[in-house]
């Protein structure tokens, strides 16, 4: 888990979790009637990808001080 392979897999997992979470919020917005035009649907899609990347990097950045030298 502490090696580069484990970290890569965990980082991918973090991204998929956040992507599913953000896209789920996008779907909930659609359920409430927002973002129904094509361009807004696309825009929300790109925001979702961007937000997932940011949240993934943020989580790992915050986790950094707690991971003392790949335990």
């Amino acid at each position: 888990m502490g090696g580069w392979l484990g970290k890569t897999v965990l980082m991918g997992l973090t991204f998929t979790v956040f992507y599913h979470l953000c896209n789920g919020i996008r779907h909930l917005c659609w359920d409430m009637g927002y973002f129904f035009t094509i361009e807004n649907a696309y825009r929300a899609g790109y925001i979702v990808i961007f937000a997932s990347i940011v949240l993934t990097l943020l989580s790992w950045h915050l986790a950094c001080p707690y991971m003392s030298g790949g335990k």
């Binding site: 909930l28 915050l62 986790a63 991971m67 003392s68 335990k71």
Partner: protein, 133 residues
Amino acid sequence: MKLKWEDKGFKSPLARAKGLGAGHDGTGHWMKQRVTSVASLPLVLWLVWSLVHLGAADYAEFTSWLARPVNAILMILFVIAVFTHAILGAQVVIEDYVHSEGFKFAKLTAMKLFYYAAAVTCIFSVLKVAFAG
């Protein structure tokens, strides 16, 4: 052209209202999917936040974290919400993409039994750590 489910021939108004068309199911599944998704939302954020802080925790540190009532309760809620959500999601995938009725039934049953077994295993594990160390 009249669709099959629009046929009024033998159906009372109640049966037609409950007939629910080709989906064989009303809005129940859809609503459950939304409710579990909203329930999962804070729980996922809590878990990610916690795991961030547990970055360098060893086995003893992690189990003592999980043994705390708040964490154990939230973890069990997380397991229930996420597994229910996963079952509902996997069900839709199977219903949409498996076209043979018999195989579909077998696959849905196997999937649900497997997910229930996995969920119970998770909950048991949390309880064991919480109560037996």
